[in-house]
């Protein structure tokens, strides 16, 4: 289940700009994937699978989102102006700074949800 759900969550994330979906929902789905994994295999196993503690995701995601916010300033435009590559990429489609912002949101959401849930579940044990 885990790979399929993760793939699905990425799909949701990427299609967000055109169809229902986006970083927030995508992140939640990815989090659910890991939670289901931890239900079957135990929290410790999931933590091993992740290699890093989920709390480490939070700063990474925040950093990506913040960078994508301030990136336009480098080319002399106001904060949060959408920047876009002119040529579409294969499969993914157009890539813009909004996508990176959404990826940041995605990672933060995964990090937050897993941190809270795993901490509580470890506490319960």
């Amino acid at each position: 289940m885990l790979p399929i759900l993760l793939l699905f969550s990425l799909f949701i994330l990427l299609r967000g700009h055109y169809y229902p979906g986006g970083g927030f929902v995508g992140g939640l789905i990815a989090a659910i994937a890991f939670v289901l994994h931890s239900f079957t295999n135990g929290t410790d196993d999931t933590l091993k699978l992740l290699r890093v503690h989920p709390s480490a995701f939070i700063p990474v995601g925040l950093g990506i989102a913040a960078l994508s916010m301030f990136a336009p300033m480098l080319v002399g435009q106001p904060v949060m102006t959408g920047l876009w590559f002119n040529e579409p990429f294969p499969v993914i489609g157009l890539i813009g700074s909004a996508l990176f912002f959404d990826i940041g949101v995605y990672i933060v959401v995964v990090g937050v949800v897993l941190t809270i849930l795993f901490t509580i579940s470890q506490y319960s044990e």
């Binding site: 949701i12 967000g16 700009h17 055109y18 169809y19 229902p20 979906g21 986006g22 970083g23 927030f24 929902v25 939640l28 789905i29 989090a31 659910i32 939670v35 709390s55 939070i58 700063p59 995601g61 925040l62 989102a65 913040a66 916010m69 949060m80 959408g82 876009w84 157009l94 813009g96 909004a98 912002f101 959404d102 940041g104 949101v105 933060v108 959401v109 990090g111 937050v112 949800v113 941190t115 809270i116 849930l117 901490t119 509580i120 579940s121 470890q122 506490y123 319960s124």
Partner: protein, 769 residues
Amino acid sequence: MLFAILAGFIVSLLYIPFGRFLKGRLAVLASLLPIGLFTYFAAFIPDIQDGASIAFHQPWVPSLGINFDFQLDGLSLLFSLLITGIGSLVFLYAAAYLKGHPYLDRFYAYLSLFMAAMLGVVLADNVLLLFIFWELTSISSFFLIGFNNDNADSRKSALVALGVTGGGGFLLMAGLILMGHLSGSYSIQEMIATNEYLKGHALYGLILLLVFVGAFTKSAQFPFHFWLPGAMKAPTPISAYLHSATMVKAGVYLLARLYPVLGGTDYWTYPLIIIGGITMLYGAFHSIFRTDLKGILAYSTISALGILVFLIGIGTPQSLLAAAVFILVHALYKAALFLTTGVIDHETGTRDVTQLSGLRKVLFPLAIAGLLAALSSAGLPFTFGFIGKDLVYEATLHTDGILPLVLTGLAVVTNIFLLYAGLLAGLKPFAGRLPERYSAIHLPHALMWAPPLLLAILGIAFGAFPALADASLLNPAATAMINEAIDSPLKIWHGFNTVLLLSGITLALGVALYLARKPSAHGLAWIERFNPLSPKHLIASLTRAVHRFAIRYTRTLHNGFLRVYLLRIIIFAVLLLAFRLFSGGAIRLIPDQLSPVGIYEIAVVGILVAAIYLAVTSTSRLTAVVATSVIGYGMCLLFVFYSAPDLAMTQFTIDTLTVVLFVLVLFRLPSFLNLANRGTRIRDWLVASAFGAVIALIGIQVLNQPIDDTISKFYGDNAYVLAKGKNVVNVILVDFRGFDTMFEIVVLSIAAIGVFSLLKLRLKASEKE
């Protein structure tokens, strides 16, 4: 100029990584900063003397009127030189005084921070900028008073000082904003241009009140003076620097600076004369009963600050010149006396003036410093204090009406007491026979006796040759206050006149008092009998009352029961919404506008109702949780029906996670108990129904409003054009309202950190057991 002010902040930051290298012998290097700044400001003397003023402008938040506007004129220069000059000596002195102290780096960091903030106060031309620096001085003063942080008294005094000055600062901010708002500019120079309008405005009185309270709390005026004696818990160099020579004069500076804007009216003059008069007499009277050297100096400082406020209140050119002179006089002799006291304390271990005598035999250079400073404070001829005192009398004599008699009388009495206090602090410890137990004392390092000696000598030099400081410093300072040139050079000898007579009387009576009265613990005990009536005591009991009220208030409103919070929030929201709803007109339901109800909707609503019933009546937690999640999924279906797929997806995943969360914590809970009795159940039922009803009514009412679709139309039209997205909801989230989303994920992260740390803490604690 910006760099000169920021240098202190930068240096104090540098102490964080490099502080431990500067703790040892290199500590003296710290004084390079104030010495450098002193030279920098001293280089401006010729320009300022010619009547120029140097302005510096750098936009910061122009939309709010906050800019880095600095203005260096005579008044600012006088203060800048005092701050950096006495700062240099204090930095040097402290290197020896606190030698080997484990927190020496911290000490210098605070001190640099303070110096930069104080320079900012006296140089800022923008009142909001001034206020920011003003608060920074309060904060650095807090850290420095509480420097001996293992001493409960120090901590308490630091808090009292911060409370008083911070409270005053709060009112000051209101006053300054009011001023800026009325005059349309936050720049003091521009306010001077519109001062007639300000003085005539109905809110003029309020502005004065707010500014006065701010200045009085900072400059320790009656009845806010009590924090200053407490602040003497700080190491002595700090007392000399912050609580005598510079920071406490910030209030005086503010009054002097705002004199051209607000001053000259009766509302300005009388409160300042009255409060300043009370303070100078009160402080001087109290100082003669103290036996602790620093206590004596603290109360005489309060008195000197009172004199300054008093002089600014009188507001004649003579009195403002007198104020400028007295600022310098007082800073020189009082800092010298404080530093001398510091050495005495350091070497003998006591500051009790009844115990000390004959120290001139072992601490000779200090005895000279103490004597010279005491003479200057006594106002003996050929000292700078003499000129200062003369000018004060001159100023009080040249007022109108019956005031001269009263004011001069006040000034004479105050000066007699101050003279006594000065002799007590500067002469008494060194005079007489040296007790056996002090005979082994050696003269400390030159860094400790040279600074007070230098200050004391300067006090004499400026007195003997007043031209040294007159045209270069003091005249421009007074000129800056009244905006017109003052043509009265300082002189030692004015001929035989009333002023000389008054000086003679002061001197004679003061010396007589010194010879006749010996300080004793008895006198201290006598004056302390009046403590219950003192402002300090009254305000302390007020604070305790507020504290008790806060405890009671918190226990009632924030009792820690989540359900009580929820209940209150919901009731409040219901009342608020209901009020708005019913005051907005009739509620109508127009059936035609409703979309037809299909079989799916009816089925979903039926499921919802059943789930709600189950959730409320179930006696098993698990059943209730499952039922609530059914409600959530039902809602998702409704969202899908009414074309809100984004919302539905999010709700769906959130619900799933909520169930997971519930299941995780469920089995930690004790088995199900029905704690709620019938009464609370009915109450909860009522509240819930009311909430639902209000929301439903709002929903109906929304339908009746003509739909304003400009916003959704804007997003719909622009989503693809501006942000290249076809999903409007997502485009709003990541592009148009991207800042909101950014802050939301930050909040999420904070929540995660909160849960994580709270539970980890508990885990660790339970692991220990």
